[in-house]
């Protein structure tokens, strides 16, 4: 039986990797994928605690997180396509229309 703290450490590692990806990369698509990593880290926690507390609620929430992630990906990728069509770039730091 693996103690829950192991899963927590794994999830902490994944969150950190995801945050590094979001903050340092320029490519929007890779930023997106890093966000997916963070969401998955949260899911690992939910499932680990669901097992820990012998309660199915954690799994129900994980299903909701996956739902939200799917919605987020659909919208996000729609925005990427719209952006690419208008600005011909997918680099986050070149999209600075609000700078005036």
């Amino acid at each position: 039986m693996i103690p829950a703290s192991h899963y927590l450490i794994l999830s902490a590692l994944l969150v950190t990797i995801g945050v590094i990806g979001v903050l340092t990369r320029r490519n929007i698509l890779i930023i997106f994928m890093s966000i997916e990593l963070i969401l998955n880290a949260a899911n690992i926690n939910l499932i680990a605690f669901s097992r820990q507390l012998q309660d199915v609620i954690g799994q129900v929430f994980a299903v909701f997180v996956i739902t939200v992630a799917a919605a987020e990906a659909a919208i996000g990728l729609g925005i990427v396509i719209a952006l690419f069509r208008n600005r011909e770039t997918i680099n986050a730091d070149e999209i600075d229309l609000l700078k005036g």
Partner: protein, 168 residues
Amino acid sequence: MEQLIFYSLAGATVLFGMLVVIARNPVHSAIFLIGALMCIAGLYLQMGAEFVGGVQILVYVGGVMVLFLFVIMLVNVRTAERVRQLSPEWKTALLLAGALSVELVYLVLKGPGVFATAAPEAIPALQGNTQNVGAALYTKYLLPFEIASVLLLVAMIGAVALARSRMD
């Protein structure tokens, strides 16, 4: 055996996660992310959450990631590999991420006091996992479930409106 499976899956997950962030080519990133997601699904199975594991593969790997690959190919920027990869503020970003990781490690190490992280005595029954999740979804969590479906509908309409080409 259980330890071996956990450590190899966890190790692979972290490795794939790092490769996602490091890879220069977005397609490679996506492939590494698929690997990470599959390892995470394996971890779910190991924790007895068969249904979530199945949904993870089905929705994430089979749906979301195909969409990612599709969009990457659509905005196929062959030059993406050759340009600068890091955003201008990457040093600050690394510093912040470092601070975050220190914080997280501190939390987990303090863990036993904050959360109950000792191993539970009984292993949850694998049988009927799908039924359990389904029962919870359709009774106690019916309202969130319906809201999630509305969210998906809104997302669908939004994605269609965003991505369609100007026809008018």
